[in-house]
Symmetry: C2
Subunit: 405 residues, 2 copies
């Protein structure tokens, strides 16, 4: 049950970026589970990868290769190829080699991505067998099918698209993402692919990606569990007839940044809206911090608290649990008498105690909504951070207790 | 459904320490919800308190007073008197003043303790009205009734008792605890009271308490939420006819320490066994760490992971989730190729990958048990830490979604 997430909106094709989908039957026969993406020659490719020390074999390989000339991104679902040791590396390499041979490019130009169950051997032959069909399916208008092809426990495909004009020429930014559980990205989300036909210098593209991921995928959490397979790629094909963007300034760069940030925010929030068992979309806004880190510490303490998340599920304005989470966030010398807390527009806590004007009815009214903002004013400085999360429902337990059955 | 926790075993009376129980009807009419404990004159009293910055009013007062001569401990359930600001402090003070007057002692000799819903005003009159009955009920053989009187969402009372001989004289250590949710103590548990009739110098008693709490209550977690009200008190009445223990050495001290550690471990583990919705009692053993902190970081990453906890609930040996949690624990320069993981006696992960000998059947057999050990060998050094936790079940969500209804 996704919160405020409808069918895919229009995903504009990106000239120079094609997507092909096929079925390898990795987890279930007939399921679309292999996606190949082709970048036009000369594309700039940027990437951010999980910081989990137990990163998956494909992450290790993609991270080694992404700085070179990249032509193909190969994604499979149903198997994460993580915790698979040396055989897992060999398996991932073999799939990229097969694709490289079929596509007549160097093996190093193919990046592998996997998502699914951890610890099972990658079914290499099944994936190899599906590659010809995926290549035959390559098309620029295939974003929606690819968004579905990368899903695992997602209930809805996730995509976003923006366009802007540079000197009368239309430039497009389109992306897709997947993920619904094991979500507390650290430098990237589960899997995200965003492409633009702008021409962007590679170093600048990498900086732009890091910045965008930091404001989007690195500010969401569903269960606090960072995946072994998180990757997010940003590709600039350079096919639009506009000048190369090489500096982080100027009108074209500003427009591109705005469009990229918008696409990333929409993709990241879509992951939360479709979070496993989610019945609420929750924005945790922390203001007045002495620095960004303490805002994040408070925000994540609230966003990860099982007690707050179950209260959100129950629509119970149990604001004492919010105070308790703020209090354990580890902020040094926290003066609780300066803290105000708001639930939606309702002040629930004033100077560290229950707000004089607060009534349980006001709190219950806000908590009954599907989209809820918890705003915490620390009164220590001028820093702010925003984190998006979900509630913790019966269905979260059900989904994760039954994941492999 | 408590895991491996039966009826209370014999709780030996501690000479010089009396307990009285009464009903104030704080949350439900007729429920025993007020417990008064009296320490003989001259008792040494040690305490450890929550590190949550939003600590409750009674914690603030108890922390101020416990270094002085203490005669009475006043506990109520049903209301935490937390997040209640200045009026909460005044309310807690008033209850201690009333008890002090009834008992003809100074107000400073009474320490208040509260547990229950956060953010509601303390019903002072109800508590005051119950004090004469609690005082009239004071008796040394009242531990079992007190263990029941301090329960909130606990399904079973928790107590432990040990005795040892010093020069032919029997010395007793007896304690009780409560807590089932919002459990990730930091310096103390929800509420724990342990008394001995040994005579112990106050500074030594405080050191002993800190050490014991650190090895017990500070190594358990149910949901990672640190309470606003955690307190643990250790009282030495000095009524046993043995010499004062003033140094952390010698046979009497060693015996006392062993008995205190045993009582604390049993009380702390009882809290986990009775964890909200718990169907599994899980020991997370981390060995081979370069220092204690990294062992704890890995242990808590595993113990707090909702994905591992739901897999434990489902008896699913989804060991990939364990690797993922180890990998995100933030251990610097973690070499995953040195890591071994065992589930019960079964090696599931060898040198960072699936163990060659591992079969799903072996894992399933361990996971079906009610008591499970997850052992992680980091291969970095000689430090070890042990953490006890629970699974995450449908009932945890149910209990916490419906807590206030």
């Amino acid at each position: 049950m996704a919160v405020g997430l409808g069918p895919l909106s229009t995903l504009h094709p990106v000239p120079g970026f094609e997507l092909g989908i096929a079925s390898a039957g990795i987890k279930r026969p007939g399921r679309k589970d292999v996606v190949v993406m082709r970048c036009a020659e000369g594309s700039s490719v940027a990437g951010v990868f999980t910081l989990n020390a137990f990163c998956a074999a494909p992450v290790i390989i993609a991270r080694q290769r992404f700085a070179g000339p990249v032509r193909y991104l190969l994604t499979n679902t149903g198997n994460a190829n993580a915790g698979t040791g040396q055989p897992g590396l060999a398996a991932a390499e073999r799939t990229t080699k097969t694709l490289a041979t079929l596509a007549s490019v160097g093996e190093e130009a193919v990046l592998p991505f996997s998502t699914g169950v951890i610890g099972e051997p990658l079914p290499v032959e099944k994936i190899e067998a599906a590659l010809p069909a995926a290549l035959a399916d390559l098309a620029e208008d295939n974003w929606a099918a690819a968004a579905t092809g990368i899903m695992t426990t997602d209930t809805l495909p996730k995509g976003a698209s923006r366009q802007f004009q540079v000197d009368g020429t239309t430039v497009t930014v389109t992306g897709i993402s997947k993920g619904a559980g094991m979500i507390k990205p650290n430098m990237a989300t589960m899997l995200g692919y965003v492409a633009t036909d702008a021409k962007v210098a590679r170093g600048l593209l990498q900086d732009l990606l890091a910045d965008a991921a930091n404001r989007s995928f690195n500010r969401i959490t569903i269960d606090g569990d960072t995946s072994t397979n998180d990757c997010c790629m940003l590709v600039a094909t350079g096919q639009a007839a506009v000048a190369e963007i090489a500096q982080p300034s100027g009108a074209a760069f500003e427009q591109l940044r705005e469009a990229v940030f918008a696409v990333f925010a929409e993709l990241a929030q879509a992951i939360v809206r479709d979070g496993e068992g989610a019945t609420k979309f929750v924005t945790v806004q922390v203001n007045g911090g002495g620095n960004a880190q303490e805002c994040l510490d408070v925000g994540y303490a609230v966003a990860h608290s099982p007690l707050i998340k179950t209260a959100l599920f129950a629509s119970d304005p149990n604001w004492g649990r919010i105070l308790a989470a703020v209090g354990r966030a580890g902020v040094p010398q926290l003066d609780v008498s300066l803290i105000d807390v708001f639930l939606g527009g309702v002040q629930i806590c004033q100077q560290g105690g229950r707000a004089a004007t607060y009534t349980e009815e006001q709190g219950a009214r806000v908590m009954a909504q599907a989209e809820i903002e918890i705003r915490i004013e620390l009164g220590r400085g001028s820093h702010s951070e925003t984190i998006w999360t979900t509630d913790l429902s019966h269905d979260y337990v059900k989904i994760n207790a039954e994941y492999r059955t």
